[in-house]
């Protein structure tokens, strides 16, 4: 059964359950390109890649995200103005030839701020994902193999999953103080249990497989087993989940920054731009449009990519399921 969605909680159980369904074909498929035998090992991937390339929604999403990445990296070069430069005589302007998206309440160029914000948003995604991956995946793989680790950590994961992500992130920010890094650290911790569960179920399934037993009997160490054999097999569902999480993190980052608890001025993210626009909602409601659109498009792009990856890994075409 497919449980798709950007909202964290709902995705967890569904995908964790799917863990044993998604697996790459073990038998090599005929048609490997001659002269490049080393590619044969990666054949499962390339089939998935072909499927991905056929999926138009995914390709649009990839192009969009790539564009966003380029803009974020080149932010100082491509933005027409200094994002923090205030022009007090030109406050809350609509779009003009000089300021393509107008100016905000301090007379700052909205387009430049939008461009610089994409940098901070992507940085936030990287931070939170790194925390979630580093915490969730190794412990998850380990507890698929070691029952006593599992017994302890699974309870902790249950407990963490019972608190809504935003509430827990709020609490950590409340204790450590506002700031993007604190917020993203908290968010990473909140996301870790889902990755943990997914990694655990993959590892638990794999640990009963014959090739693991074979490996063990020739004297592989536990680490070698986990890193070289289990992780590659668990990687596709984990990759799908991480992609969905990117969208969840953007939503959470935007929410926290909107509440003034994420990124701190003068830095801005799309969420904090919405906060600024919200302050002037009666005078210039149009200023909500650009940051809101960027948030939605980016979340949508990650969701499309995640859906596409899952379909590609599961080997089903676009039959709408």
């Amino acid at each position: 059964m497919s449980t798709d969605g950007v909202t964290g909680a709902a995705t967890d159980d569904g995908v964790a359950g799917d863990g044993d369904v998604i697996r790459e074909p073990a038998t090599p498929v005929p048609g490997t390109r001659a002269g490049r035998p080393r590619r044969a090992r990666r054949f499962g991937r390339s089939r998935a890649m072909r499927e991905l390339r056929r999926n138009r929604g995914v390709m649009v999403a990839v192009v969009f995200l790539f564009f966003l990445l380029v803009i974020a990296v080149l932010a100082p070069v491509v933005s027409p103005y200094d994002p923090d430069a205030q022009e007090l005589r030109a406050q809350l302007q609509g779009p003009t030839g000089e300021h393509l998206l107008g100016t905000d309440g301090f007379g700052r160029d909205v387009l430049s701020r939008l461009i610089h914000s994409s940098r901070i948003t992507l940085l936030a995604v990287v931070q939170a994902l790194a925390v979630a991956v580093v915490l969730g995946i190794p412990i998850g793989l380990l507890s698929g193999f070691v029952p006593w680790v599992d017994r302890i950590v699974a309870r902790v994961a249950d407990a963490l999953l019972s608190v809504p992500p935003i509430v827990l992130a709020l609490a950590v920010v409340g204790v450590l103080g506002p700031g993007l890094t604190n917020a993203m650290l908290a968010l990473g911790i909140v996301m870790a249990p889902s990755l943990f569960r997914l990694a655990r179920s993959s590892a638990a399934t794999a640990s009963k497989e014959l090739y693991i037993e074979a490996c063990r009997s020739v004297g592989c160490s536990r680490w070698r087993l986990i890193w070289r054999h289990v992780l590659p097999n668990a990687s596709s569902p984990l990759l799908v989940q991480v992609t969905f999480f990117a969208g969840v993190i953007i939503l959470a980052e935007a929410s926290l920054s909107f509440l003034g608890l994420g990124v701190q001025p003068p830095d801005s993210s799309w969420g904090s731009m919405l906060r600024d626009a919200f302050a002037n909602i009666y005078e210039a409601p149009g200023h909500l449009v650009a940051p809101a659109l960027m948030i939605m498009l980016t979340i949508l792009a990650f969701a499309q990519l995640g859906d596409g990856l899952r379909d590609a890994f599961e080997g089903r075409g676009a039959d709408g399921r």
């Binding site: 059964m1 497919s2 449980t3 798709d4 969605g5 950007v6 909202t7 909680a9 709902a10 159980d13 309870r155 902790v156 249950d158 407990a159 963490l160 019972s162 608190v163 809504p164 992500p165 935003i166 509430v167 827990l168 709020l170 609490a171 950590v172 920010v173 409340g174 204790v175 450590l176 103080g177 969208g247 939503l251 935007a254 929410s255 909107f258 509440l259 003034g260 608890l261 919405l274 626009a277 919200f278 909602i281 009666y282 409601p285 909500l288 809101a292 948030i295 939605m296 498009l297 979340i299 949508l300 969701a303 499309q304 859906d307 709408g320 399921r321």
Partner: protein
């Protein structure tokens, strides 16, 4: 059935204990000396000592934890550092507001999503199906507060249909006063929920419709609405109920931002206030109570499962 329920309740206890450990640890997460951090940078030695005593920071960790858990079990979550109000009382005042917001939102989501999911599932691949799929993907990318902002601009500011801010209890201004303040925020909260629910309904119903009893029912000449409504939907109910229960956590999460947009004095805005003031006991209370609500919702889902599917009652 009673045994089944009590089993589930017992299973929730260790999780709840762990949650209280986390919430309790929050205090120790404070950088530096917790008492100094809470009393403020300019506090005198005396004030710091007083704060330390008030928070019980002198005693060893396990003793403090035990005290916290035992008083939490009696419904005492400490006192707010700023208002001096009991945390339980503060949350008790705010929770009904968020509950009514959540209830209206859930109702909206169910009324919209289940028929949409059913329409999509009965005609897979049709135009209606594709529209539902795209609409739900799109809706899931709209953060609740963004939807809220759009609704404020369109309905409250431009059209001036409905009030943009505030909340009135039913007792104060009657049913319409209560509802009119809730419609817009409830739509904002319901957006993602409805999308999720519609997708789940579609998926579960598609599975159910491919079963042989559906073919039998059709072969017996039952009308399609009867087949879908009475036979398939009942069997598809289990995953739908799961998603519904999971949405309770979503309501709490969405309430945080949506209540901020609409200036609703609910649980979410209480949480934001507590965080802004770094009111640690209140933050602890908020986290603990949200976990309690989510666990209760999961428990309810388990019980409904057991009711819907007797096979699970073991």
């Amino acid at each position: 059935m009673l045994k089944f329920i009590s089993q589930r309740v017992l299973m929730a206890v260790p999780v709840l204990l762990l949650v209280s450990l986390f919430t309790f640890l929050l205090l120790d997460l404070l950088p530096g000396d917790a008492a100094v951090a809470i009393a403020g940078e300019n506090a005198t030695e005396e004030q710091i000592a007083l704060t330390r005593e008030r928070l019980g920071l002198d005693s060893p960790f396990l003793e403090r934890f035990w005290n916290w858990v035992s008083s939490a079990a009696q419904g005492d979550l400490g006192t707010s550092l700023y208002t001096g109000q009991s945390v339980t009382e503060a949350i008790g005042e705010r929770l009904p507001v968020t509950a009514s917001l959540g209830l209206v939102a859930l109702l909206m989501a169910v009324v919209v999503a289940i028929p949409l999911g059913a329409i999509a599932a009965t005609r897979p691949g049709s135009l209606a199906d594709r529209v539902v799929i795209s609409a739900t993907s799109l809706a899931m990318a709209v953060p609740p507060f963004v939807l809220g902002l759009v609704l404020v601009v369109v309905f409250a500011i431009q059209l001036q249909f409905l009030p943009a801010t505030g909340y009135t209890a039913i007792a104060e201004e009657g049913l319409w006063g209560w509802l009119s303040h809730l419609i817009l925020p409830a739509i904002a909260v319901a957006g993602i929920m409805a999308a999720e629910l519609a997708r789940q309904t579609r998926g579960a119903l598609l599975d159910a419709l491919s079963q042989s009893y559906v073919r039998t029912a059709k072969a017996r000449g039952l009308r399609p609405p009867t087949v879908v409504g009475k036979h398939a939907l009942k069997n598809a109910a289990t995953p739908i109920v799961t998603v519904l229960a999971l949405q309770i956590g979503h309501v709490l999460g969405a309430a945080v931002t949506v209540e901020f947009v609409f200036a609703i004095p609910g649980f979410g805005s209480l949480a934001v206030n507590a965080v802004n003031l770094r009111d640690v006991p209140l933050i602890q209370g908020v986290v603990f109570v949200s976990a309690l609500v989510v666990l209760a919702a999961n428990l309810l889902a388990d019980v409904v499962y057991g009711y819907l599917n007797p096979k699970l009652r073991v």
